[in-house]
Symmetry: C2
């Protein structure tokens, strides 16, 4: 497909984001990656490429529409913002650059100049020092697209598995109280639509996890399955959505069971992340469903400790770019029909 | 090693236990399994072998000590108790046979006539109908050895991973309230000793999971790490036990992280079972640590739905027999020193 290229934000320049952008560009042919451009960081990316032994021609572009023509022979970079490359040594200036890159990338996608965005890893604590008030990039991007945070749904996707954590950064003790029929139903609808729109799955199969072990054994230990999860599943099914469960979570991610669904909705963070990281650690992608734009991110952090040391695995960044490109192509094709 | 053979209890005769015992015996040479005998079920096992197309010579023995000599050419069966083979159709008579087989196996190990026990899968609800008052086989076996239930620790072990759930069949909401420094410390000691005694690991590395996502991010969401888990780890370390953590559970089971510990202590059922079943579904073993006898079990249920249909995977039963044999050999060698 043609269409606008993807915008990739740098992430924290002291982290592994910049070097992975270079690595992804260097592998663009063998990995069959769609055209992308970096938002800012000509000097930074050139230095990061050197540490990984990558010969990286960089070409400054003034218009995102120039990216696809440049991409085959050079990494296109939009925007003059830049910074020094000091891997492992985060700074306020670096955090400000990361934020500027993220904001510009989101704006470009929102106005249609980019086909979607892939966001490099940031350090939330650092960003907070320069005025970032969101829990994470997901909420920031949602706000940039004028979508309420509760309608921006985090999907984690690897080669083996897709999971959605319905609650995320909260104590385990608070999880039962945060679950509701409405929460599960609303997120289920968004996930259903996301699977159709961005993954091309005509009739997505949603597996809804239980909260309690063995799904509570008919209320013997815990009644959230009966009070909340089963009614939400019934409501989704009444709308024609193929939702099943509540499934005991321990066996849902076993090899044969994984083939029975397209995505699992999980009640809490570790229920979604444990199986994904156990199976797909080096290739996990964090995608935001429910937005008017395509947004993916490698499912890892800044990894300051290994930045600049040729150790960071590019699999997740490459997978994030590929997934964003595929989703963007599907949306473009649907819009053209 | 010589020493007494392992006693294998039948499990529910309508489940997959009997056919897997036959399958394990048939593969004794290629799998290098230690000598074992079944407790009861001559007619039952003969019928189960037929459904799997196994030529199974059965030899009744009156004394467990005769088992090692019989094992190479026939499946030794102790005890006259028996039942009809009706796979998929559990009954009171079958449950009574399962219970008798389990009780006899445990008694034989307790008196030293068996090197350890491997327990076939039972259906708790069925056993309850014939007077079984324990939450599961683990507690029954503990009682048979006069060990308090809280000192019988469930270990789940597969080729990739060993985990211990510190709480098991209780609601997720009740988990935080069940955790205590004493619980973690006491179980940690038992696990440490079990790794040394039964697995031959001189200085076992115990990884202790956090309860909250990201280990609570220094109390931002949940304080159990600071109040309970970290103090328990400090107490274990003060005793010379190599305990680390609290580790964020989502990344602890990733491939590279799995090499950094010998066993993970998990705060709740699914935290321990999700990674184990995702990685080692067909070969998971449930072992009870803290007992005077060796006890293992395949980590699956009766699977009434596939019993008698040649579908049940024997991997977990074979792994359970092998693990029990290795542990029994280590204990015998230690006792002889």
């Amino acid at each position: 497909m043609a269409g606008p290229a993807l915008a990739v934000s740098l992430g924290d320049p002291a982290g592994i984001g910049p070097e992975l952008i270079c690595e992804a560009w260097a592998r663009r042919e063998v990995e069959g990656l769609p055209a992308f451009f970096a938002v800012g960081g000509v000097r930074l990316l050139t230095a990061a490429a050197e540490t990984r032994g990558i010969a990286l021609p960089v070409e400054r572009i003034a218009d995102p529409l120039a990216a696809p023509a440049v991409f085959p022979h050079a990494l296109p970079v939009l925007d003059d913002s830049d910074g020094d490359y000091r891997p492992g040594a985060p700074s306020r200036e670096g955090a400000a650059l990361a934020l500027a890159s993220l904001a510009r990338a989101a704006a470009l996608a929102d106005e249609g100049a980019a086909g979607g965005i892939v966001t490099g890893p940031i350090a939330k604590a650092r960003l907070a020092e320069v005025g970032f008030t969101y829990p994470g990039q997901t909420e920031f991007v949602a706000a940039a697209c004028r979508v309420p945070a509760e309608d921006a749904v985090m999907l984690l996707a690897g080669p083996s598995l897709r999971t959605v954590p319905l609650t995320v950064h909260c104590s385990l003790a608070s999880v039962p109280g945060r679950l509701s029929v409405d929460l599960i139903r609303n997120r289920g609808r968004i996930v259903h639509e996301g699977m159709r729109r961005d993954f091309g799955i005509a009739a997505p199969r949603l597996a809804i996890c239980a909260l309690n072990p063995h799904a509570g054994e008919e209320g013997r230990f815990g009644d959230e399955e009966q009070r909340i999860i089963a009614p939400a599943i019934a409501a989704l099914r009444a709308e024609g959505i193929d939702a099943s469960g509540p499934h005991p979570a321990d066996s849902l991610f076993a090899p044969h069971a994984r083939n029975s669904f397209d995505v699992a909705l999980c009640m809490y963070h570790d229920q979604a992340l444990i199986p994904l990281k156990a199976l797909d650690f080096d290739n996990g992608v964090n995608m935001t469903l429910g937005l008017p734009i395509v947004r993916t991110s490698p499912d890892h952090g800044t990894a300051f400790g290994i930045a600049g040391r040729r150790q960071a695995h590019p699999g997740a960044m490459i997978a994030a770019i590929r997934m964003a490109g595929e989703a963007a192509a599907r949306r473009a094709a649907a819009a053209a029909r």
